[in-house]
Symmetry: C2
Subunit: 249 residues, 2 copies
Amino acid sequence: MMRRSFQVAARLGHRRALLRTPCILPGLDPAAAFGSSTDSLVSRFCPVKTDLKDYALPNASWGPDMLSLYQEFLEKTKSDGWVKLPSFQSNRDHIQGLKLPSGLVAASDKSDWRIFTRCIQVEGQGYEYVIFFHPFKKKSVCLFQPGPYLEGPPGFAHGGSLAAMMDETFSKTAYLAGEGLFTLNLNIRFKNLIPVGSLAVLNVQVEKIEDQKLYMSCITQSRDQETVYAKSSGVFLQWQLEEESSPWS
Amino acid sequence: MMRRSFQVAARLGHRRALLRTPCILPGLDPAAAFGSSTDSLVSRFCPVKTDLKDYALPNASWGPDMLSLYQEFLEKTKSDGWVKLPSFQSNRDHIQGLKLPSGLVAASDKSDWRIFTRCIQVEGQGYEYVIFFHPFKKKSVCLFQPGPYLEGPPGFAHGGSLAAMMDETFSKTAYLAGEGLFTLNLNIRFKNLIPVGSLAVLNVQVEKIEDQKLYMSCITQSRDQETVYAKSSGVFLQWQLEEESSPWS
């Protein structure tokens, strides 16, 4: 049982951070504010060669909206600074050689771990999504197509499935933009229901990094931006992962 | 595509509600504030005879904490006014003969719909949970044991999986306590990570019903209440389901 709360962790970490000047956008430089540069975080997160299955690739269940916007962003990865994030079965695969900070250790006696947003592996039935990240602009776009196993009100996505998709997009953005590791706060205002099978586009922006916290906003809309599904904000605590070979292990 | 937002719906509904006095707890009487009594909502929601599988029953994956607290609350259903809510595969099963308000119609060309929190049917791998509701006190308790498919940080439940569990517990509470149908706002402060396989207990309370909205709070803790995992609030919009045979269909 892990008893050290995020607040205590933040206070402990804050002592270390006091020697550094907090960074507020614009002019954000997480490399100065925290340990690793965004570039090194991204390159470790997106291995060029891997045998791991990437679940963020088109499949037969993707609708025309999802497919065409995916192709649009894929083009932008060639010249516009966007990076397509791979999505492996577990976060463990993304942080190979790294581990959670000391004290955050849980029993690990099961082998089939899945990140929640990849819990359903039948194509089209659960989460279909892909995240593009822009390291310089500190923003992300997530293309999200909820399947029939994500239902809430008949025919529409469960509010909780969108909340989880937001948390996951915030999470990847926070980690890559500045080693944001733990959700401290998630605040969502729901505006419209998302029909199952349709495309929702999440636009996430890092607003500021201050006092060891990343503050982000998200607007979720239909592709034509005519319908706003939800607006949200997220606050993440910065905390560095440790090398597996660390003497503190 | 459904374009009428919750805010517009709330304003439309508010005109109807203006003739009624808003109710604030204590002394809450949703039956006066809205259409159906809590008792009639509960009895329709919990059919005595049904062939539908109830997923909120103990199975081999439930740990000792989950099992013993389940038994405790089951005893309270006999004399203390608590009701164990059944949990079917889809919300469609819970509201048979009813439908969403006019205008909220989505294509329904797939047969295998699942409520998001029952999306994984392999025992112990995903969501294991059961909700108990107290109609008089307008409160709920949800026993939640996250499995390894709900992972976020290695070994711990994804923040989004807890957000969805909160939204679902709020949702059932809001509906039964006063026909709360749509999440308007969800605000979560995360305090500690939940180890996969352990028990988290969500305590939900309806704080007030006012201006066609239900305001609820939730605290999520370990069974011994030594560790607070998260605190949250939820606001739901009251809206009546319609009879399938309604002339408005």
